[in-house]
């Protein structure tokens, strides 16, 4: 079984760029947002607050969107500024390089043959 994070050969900087910003980083964001959300939900559940199970399902079943929605909209234990920082800094770190890469990859590629 090859590494899930393998890149095409030759493994140029652009190959790594897209593997990191399209593939690896979204997974890391999903994992971190989900982990923070579930920790928060666990404390809510212990406090007997309703809705923990539904939110937990949403966080796990809707990657990125579920975690971001919970952290921005329903988290109780984390401070608001922290929650916004976690979500938006994550999005900036992910999307800005991704958009730059897609910008570079967009558009016409040139003539077909060397003739």
């Amino acid at each position: 079984m090859p590494s899930l994070f393998s890149v095409s050969n030759p493994a140029t900087a652009f190959q790594w760029w897209f593997v990191v910003y399209v593939y690896v980083l979204p997974l890391l964001l999903y994992a971190s947002w989900a982990a923070l959300s579930l920790m928060d939900l666990n404390e809510r559940a212990r406090a007997g607050e309703p809705g923990s199970f539904a939110w937990g399902a949403a966080v796990l079943l809707f990657p990125l969107i579920g975690g971001a929605a919970y952290l921005l909209g329903s988290s109780r234990r984390l401070r608001g500024s922290s929650r916004f920082a976690i979500v938006f800094s994550g999005l900036i770190v992910w999307l800005v390089p991704l958009i730059v890469g897609l910008w570079l990859a967009g558009g016409p590629l040139g003539p077909k043959a060397l003739s």
Partner: protein, 557 residues
């Protein structure tokens, strides 16, 4: 006649590409309409120049009106009046209009103006990429029926027209031929572009390796065929800036014992054509593909016992669907061994129902000796690639030493998003791939099944185990890792970070086997070709490296 010239800026296209790329990443939803921005011109008629046809082919404009020609394909095109009264060479400033370029022609006088693309049609405007501008309130009745008045025949006439003994050039011989005649070409190097419009002609060389059409890197296509039922056999075409042998818009064709090498686009090529066979032929050194079947549904086409080498793709089938067979062949040292692809730039998408069986595909993208261009580079390093197509059958092939993936299934984003679905990948030997022997990537890559393949690695893990052709399958049948390489490759290309091998300097193939019987072989016009050539799939075996390819077809000779 007045003329204006337009050109898109790359910035607009780049924004659209970025947005569409983001849309593709978030789910490939609503992709219709993504791609290049449409021109906003009023008071004009827009004609798209696709690969290789005008759409619409017949356009009506008022006197003083204009037609904007936009190259929506991936090849260079142009517009030349048959009477040479206008051309995009004058209005655009170059004989070649590259992809996404535009040029406007204004028609000041009433009349009927046939035109053609000098790269993809005959100069008489009758065959290939041709169109008509009808200006003003004039009568125009499109031609109907078969081209010309000559009918296809099933049987040879027994007449042999010899080149150069009877006719000084191949074109002279072909022009003199009637349906069912043999044009027999003697040994020699012929610097010609031959157009065959008479149906059921057989064009044959006396020796495959010594009857050579040579374009000297100045002439477009070696032999272009626009007549039904035409056979070309036992000769070589080399050093053309476009294609070696090219059939376009025909029903009934056959290419046997042909060699095409170091041509600037395709080696042996059929477009918009059906009921055909390429067999016992060799193509190499083409930046696009050594063998190409484009835009047909149903195709009823067989490739049997061919070798594609040192090209961007050994075989490429774009929007070629239905009774399309690639069997018993070898594809070696190409950027990508073979692929089936869907593109919006050709008609009848998506590509589907191709059988790929009994082929040996090796060293794809491995040694960097192949010719190529940007699109083949995005796929480079894959043995068999199924790109945005449906319901292909990939069975009993041997795929070795692919630089990246042995067999790869991915969607494609052109003007629409085309997922790659319901392929059957069974009983192949796929080994020694650099990244994964079996790989499925991207969104919408669903309904594909894998059984009985001998392989070591897959992406995602468990691809065959979890997606067998019998029983239940899990819905997670692909990941994004293979897909991401496309974005990486495209960015790399745009930044000029990869090297294109010049097709003019690719390896010259060794001498190839001649047509059995040579000049005296029976003459069989290409009628009902598929009926006779359809392979018996039951007798096709998985090839092993070093062993001769076993052919399973019934000889037409």
């Amino acid at each position: 006649m007045r003329a204006r010239r337009f050109m898109f800026t790359t910035a607009n296209t780049r924004v659209a590409g970025t947005i569409c790329g983001l849309l593709a990443l978030v789910g490939a939803i609503g992709m219709s309409g993504c791609g290049k921005p449409e021109p906003k011109l009023t008071g004009t008629v827009l004609v798209s120049m696709a690969d290789n046809s005008y759409s619409p082919a017949i356009v009506r404009v008022p006197v003083g009106g204009s037609v904007v020609f936009m190259n929506t394909g991936r090849n260079d095109h142009n517009v030349i009046a048959v009477d040479h009264s206008f051309s995009t060479e004058k209005t655009f400033g170059n004989i070649k209009m590259p992809p996404e370029s535009m040029s406007e022609l204004v028609f000041a006088h009433a009349g009927v103006f046939p035109f053609y693309c000098s790269f993809h049609a005959t100069p008489d405007g009758k065959v290939g990429m041709v169109g008509v501008a009808v200006v003003g309130d004039v009568q125009y009745t499109p031609p109907t029926g078969n081209r010309g008045v000559l009918a296809v025949v099933d049987k040879a006439t027994g007449v042999t027209r010899r080149v150069p003994q009877d006719y000084p050039t191949i074109q002279n011989g072909v022009d003199a031929a009637n349906p069912g005649d043999l044009v027999l070409v003697d040994k020699g190097v012929y610097t010609e572009a031959v157009f065959v419009t008479t149906p059921s002609v057989t064009l044959r060389g006396v020796d495959r390796n010594e009857v050579i059409l040579d374009g000297k890197f100045e002439i477009g296509t070696g032999v272009m065929v626009g007549g039904n039922g035409v056979v070309i056999e036992n000769m070589t075409a080399r050093n053309y800036t476009l294609n070696g042998f090219f059939w376009t818009g025909v029903r009934g064709f056959r290419g046997s014992y042909l060699t095409a090498y170091n041509n600037g686009d395709y080696g042996i090529y059929a477009f918009g054509s059906s009921d055909g066979l390429f067999e016992h032929s060799y193509g190499s050194g083409s930046p696009d593909s050594a063998f190409y079947i484009g835009q047909c549904a149903p195709c009823n086409v067989v490739l049997n016992d061919v070798v594609g080498a040192y090209s961007g793709l050994g075989y490429s089938g774009t929007n070629s669907s239905g009774d399309m067979y690639v069997v018993n062949s070898r594809f070696e040292h190409n950027r990508t061994g073979l692929s089936t692809t869907t593109f919006d730039i050709e008609l009848v998408p998506p590509g589907r129902d191709t059988t790929i069986m009994g082929n040996l595909v090796s060293d794809s993208g491995l040694d960097n000796e192949a010719a190529g261009f940007y699109a083949t580079e995005t796929l480079a390093g894959n043995g068999i690639a199924l790109v945005g197509t449906h319901t292909n059958r990939v069975e009993r092939n041997t795929v070795l030493r692919s630089r990246n993936n042995g067999i790869l299934i991915v969607p494609i984003l052109d003007r629409h998003f085309w997922p790659s679905t319901r392929h059957v990948v069974r009983n192949n030997v796929v080994l020694q791939s650099g990244r994964a022997d079996l790989a499925a990537g991207g969104f919408g890559t669903l309904g594909n099944c894998f059984s009985g393949n001998l392989y070591r690695t897959s992406l995602p893990w468990g691809l065959q185990t979890l997606n067998g052709c019998e029983g239940a399958r899990v819905p997670i049948a692909s990941d994004l890792s293979a897909y991401m390489t496309f974005f990486g490759s495209i960015a790399q290309i745009r930044m000029g970070q990869f090297k294109l091998n010049d097709y003019r300097t690719r390896p010259v193939p060794p001498p190839q086997p001649n047509l059995p019987g040579g000049a005296a072989a029976p003459v069989v016009p290409a009628a009902h070709v598929f009926e006779a050539a359809k392979p018996d799939l039951n007798v096709i075996r998985t090839p092993s490296e070093g062993a001769p390819i076993k052919t399973a077809m019934v000889s037409l000779q």
